[in-house]
């Protein structure tokens, strides 16, 4: 058993989750633990917001010029006279520290500011777009997990050529460029077969292809990291024991081996949720879906600072929450981790 324990504790070696389990001293209480987690989360969000603010403010080029040029569709120098009202309105002339304090003060009051280009409160901009993005992200995640698990159960540690072919397919899937995959899915399933709408919008039927576009490459990643663990576990003595008890091959795979291989997949998921947020823009463009990805790209191009900061903080928040969930899931998957904590 010592071998297995070691594998389990080293497996969740992902950087974003601060290893909640193995500490030298006993944790005083659950409340303290939660308090620490919340503080940590707040720190991450504050840091994300501050870094975004600094980068957006310090990038070369003048922000007032940018806004004015965007409003008129031109690329040119602007006179001080033209820029004065914009600088006045958005406070671009204030010392950076003053701008930062104003910005932080707004954050504390829950005021994310007003978009420079859309004239809407950032909370409205994000609120309008967050649901389609979350739906897409988590559907894609579910698709990826389902595909990966089915693949593993059916093909890992089978006849060598079966394992090899599917392992190769997983690598290929993981390497698929999402834009290309999206276009192929669109052409085949929407244009040739007419099974799904071309313009997805936010409807349910329109969710399938975008979710596959994001889910298939992720499934390749997930299956790859879990396959190694799965195949190693198949060689463990306890598998032999289970078989000796007369358990079927399917039962062994599903009830014993799969559990072991879930942990690396969970680690990867913590990262994948954030990555899906940024990959979403590709699916959104190809399938004409609304969502935060497009909002973010537009805002970055236009240096719409309030919107960029709002979205970045939201993504940071999603990361933090996902990793909390992943940490909890570890304990559910492997109860020994709880005792260790």
């Amino acid at each position: 058993m010592s071998v297995t324990t070691e594998t389990l504790t080293t497996a969740p070696a992902q950087p974003s989750s601060p290893e909640p389990v193995r500490r030298g001293r006993p944790v005083t209480s659950t409340a303290a633990l939660i308090g620490k987690k919340v503080l940590g989360a707040l720190f991450v969000i504050w840091a994300a917001a501050s870094i975004t603010f600094l980068i957006q403010s310090l990038l070369p080029g003048d922000r007032a010029t940018l806004l004015l040029n965007q409003q008129t569709g031109q690329v040119q120098e602007r006179s001080a006279e033209e820029l004065a009202p914009i600088n006045e309105q958005f406070g671009f002339d204030d010392p950076l520290l003053v701008q930062y304090v104003t910005f932080l003060g707004g954050l504390l009051r829950g005021d994310l500011g007003i978009s420079y280009t859309l004239y809407q409160p950032v909370t409205t901009v994000i609120g309008d777009q967050i649901v389609p993005t979350l739906v897409l992200t988590f559907t894609a995640l579910a698709v990826a997990w389902a595909l990966a698990i089915v693949l593993l159960l059916l093909t890992a540690r089978r006849a060598p050529w079966v394992s090899r072919i599917f392992s190769g397919l997983e690598s290929a899937a993981a390497a698929l460029p999402q834009y290309w995959l999206g276009i192929i899915l669109l052409v085949v399933f929407s244009l040739w077969l007419g099974l799904f709408p071309v313009v997805s919008g936010s409807g349910t039927a329109g969710l399938v292809l975008p979710a596959l576009t994001l889910g298939i490459p992720l499934a390749g990643f997930l299956a790859q990291v879990m396959r190694a663990e799965f195949e190693r576990t198949m060689d463990e003595p306890f598998v032999l024991t289970a078989r000796a008890r007369g358990m079927s091959d399917g039962g062994v795979r599903l009830r014993h081996v799969l559990r072991h291989s879930l942990l690396p997949g969970l680690s990867l998921t913590g990262w994948a949720v954030g990555a899906q947020f940024s990959a979403a823009v590709i699916a959104e463009n190809v399938f004409a879906r609304p969502g935060l990805g497009r909002v973010l790209v537009t805002a970055v191009n236009g240096r719409d600072l309030p919107v960029v900061c709002g979205v970045v903080m939201l993504v940071a928040l999603v990361y933090v929450i996902t990793n909390l969930i992943v940490d909890t899931a570890y304990i559910l998957v492997d109860p020994r981790l709880k005792e260790a904590a």
Binding site: V75, Q129, N301
Partner: protein, 599 residues
């Protein structure tokens, strides 16, 4: 096919139709004699209806019943339109915002295909002897959709609003000319200029000059006026799901379409769903799959097929075409001979033909596009591909040495220049290919061109707009008249800086000629003087023409009556209708959520 076509790329991309536009005359439904006759029959029909029901209560259905002719277009239905880029606001200074503004707002005058204007809200106009006062007579029966009358007071208010920051592009057009407005009586307004401006009316036909309700502008928030401006146009904004679609709903009271509209009275359609479909494959695919009834910006690879399958229109944007502006203030291009040499050095025509698969016209002129009224084709042709001439000019200018890589050298300095351009904002991926071809071809004459594509944020923040930041810069600027030369070539001064002068040309003679053209008393003299200005510019060679900015529209046979308006090429839906009741009944209608809201 460009992945993120940068939704906020403020492409100034108007689109019009008169000058050119149709690639094949037969491809345009509205040009067909049959369609024309129907249009006339209709106009007569609705006039009859008007006199018959002077109470004005007849709804569209009743009108249809009254006229009852077989040619009466199908009423109702929501048309699905697929569009490349999403605007920030419905009305604004960006061309994308003009396309949407045109659905909701009316203008004083409407542009026609020959470059003249016809009555719209203004029924008549007169200019004073000194060309400084324009007196506009307005229709007396127009109101905004909030009930505010569209009268002289409202027009005067709008002029001041545009010029005081309400629309930066409107201000760029009339800045330096507009002085003030005076209300004479309810239906008469005087616009006072500080200097004569011949293309005044043509300027007003652009949707930057769309009229909004002064009540709405004064009492509502900036956000409300951004997402749902109140105009008097054929449609109102019903709903806007950002990232997905904008829904426009018919204005049932509408009875003041421009004189060149195909019919008077409310729109035939119940509404339009203006879908944002950024990806080219998806946009064209959605038309193929029948999800869209019409799309804009047909991808170049699909244009040949679209011409066969659909009612296809291409609009060539007037104004400044896509050109390389050469920095005449600093660096290598301060020498006129070097500018001329580069103009001769490459086969631009073959280059554009190959880069755009023959779908976009080559534009030899660096100053005006071929669809601009007053364009001088001969002046545009001064720099045909002539490598020998280019070499002679460079030898004469002292660039006689050659480095190992073939680049010319003068006094130890290489003939090396930097050209900057906004990729995917100003320049499309096909345009990028053309610029790379240009770079490659110019090597033969000994030019070493460094290309510097800019991100949207770099591009618009002005970091690459100063005289010390580039030798060449690629840009275009749409305008329905040759007066664009005044915007692009007015020398920048201390008191009146002109950032739009991106060649930094400071030439008194050209400037004077342009001013004379703007002030010329007759159309013929305006054209002749603008011709002179084009010859003068051509000699100075501060810019090199590449291709025209175009706009395309492909329409399925389920609908008919769409057209691209000539000032900027925006799609007009007021005259559009489904071709059969079946087609209409298979359309989706407004989204369910809205229907519920309405109860």
């Amino acid at each position: 096919m460009n992945t993120p076509p940068s939704p906020n790329a403020p492409e100034n991309r108007p689109v019009s139709a008169w000058q050119t536009a149709t690639t094949t005359a037969s491809s345009r439904a509205r040009r067909r004699p049959g369609a024309l006759t129907a249009g006339i029959a209709l106009a007569v029909g609705s006039a009859l209806v008007l006199s018959a029901c002077s109470s004005g209560t007849a709804g569209p259905q009743e009108q249809a019943a009254l006229t009852g002719s077989a040619t009466e277009p199908v009423q109702g239905g929501v048309l699905e339109y697929g569009h490349l880029q999403e605007p920030n606001c419905i009305f604004g200074g960006w061309i994308q915002e003009n396309f949407t503004a045109r659905q909701v707002l009316d203008n004083l005058v409407s542009a026609t295909e020959d470059g003249s204007v016809v009555p719209w809200i203004a029924t008549d106009w007169e200019v004073s002897e000194d060309q400084l006062v324009w007196t506009l007579t307005l229709r007396d029966d127009v109101h905004f959709t909030d009930g505010t009358p569209l009268d002289a007071e409202a027009v005067a208010y709008n002029f001041d609003y545009w010029m005081d920051g309400g629309n930066g592009t409107a201000a760029a057009h009339l800045g330096g000319f507009y002085d003030h407005s005076e209300v004479v009586d309810a239906d008469t307004v005087e616009i006072h200029l500080s200097a004569p401006f011949a293309p005044f009316l043509s300027t007003l036909s652009q949707s930057y000059f769309g009229l909004q309700s002064p009540t709405a502008l004064q009492t509502r928030t900036v956000e409300e006026n951004c997402t749902e401006p109140i105009g008097s146009g054929p449609f109102t904004v019903k709903d806007w799901k950002r990232g997905e679609y904008i829904e426009f709903e018919r204005n049932e009271d509408y009875d003041w379409a421009p004189e060149n509209a195909r019919h008077q009275g409310p729109a035939y359609l119940e509404g339009i769903r203006w879908n944002i479909v950024p990806d080219g494959t998806s946009r064209y695919g959605s038309l193929l799959a029948g999800e869209m009834d019409a799309i804009g910006e047909v991808p170049a690879v699909n244009i040949a097929e679209a011409r066969q399958r659909y009612d296809f229109t291409q609009y060539i944007t007037p104004g400044r075409p896509v050109v390389i502006n050469l920095n005449t203030e600093r660096g290598i291009f301060t020498d006129q001979a070097v500018r001329q040499a580069l103009s001769h050095a490459t086969d631009r025509e073959a280059n554009i033909e190959s880069a755009f698969l023959g779908t976009v016209p080559f534009e030899p002129s660096g100053y005006l596009s071929q669809s601009t009224p007053g364009y001088d084709a001969d002046a545009a042709q001064q720099y045909p591909f002539d490598l020998e001439k280019a070499n002679e000019l460079l030898d004469g200018a002292g660039w006689t040495g050659r480095a190992e890589d073939g680049t010319r050298i003068k006094d130890g300095q290489r003939l090396q220049v930097k050209i900057v351009y906004g990729l995917n904002t100003i320049v499309t991926p096909d345009g990028n290919t053309a610029i790379q071809n240009f770079q490659e071809q110019a090597r033969a004459a000994g030019f070493d061109i460094e290309l510097r594509p800019l991100t949207p944020s770099e591009n618009f923040s002005g970091a690459y707009s100063t005289p010390d930041s580039y030798d060449g810069s690629v840009g275009y600027w749409t305008s329905p008249h040759a007066g664009i030369l005044n915007i692009n070539y007015r020398p920048s001064t201390e008191e009146a800086p002109n950032g739009a002068n991106t060649t930094f040309l400071d030439n008194e003679e050209v400037f004077t000629t342009i001013q004379q053209a703007l002030q010329a008393p007759t159309d013929a003299e305006v054209t002749a003087t603008f011709s002179e200005a084009q010859y003068q510019l051509s000699e100075l060679a501060p810019a090199i023409g590449l291709y025209t900015q175009t706009n395309t529209l492909a329409v399925s046979d389920r609908v008919s009556g769409l057209w691209l308006e000539p000032a900027q090429g925006g799609p007009i839906f007021h005259d559009a209708h489904f071709t059969s009741e079946e087609a209409r009944d298979s359309s989706q209608g407004f989204s369910a959520a809205n229907a519920e809201n309405e109860g």
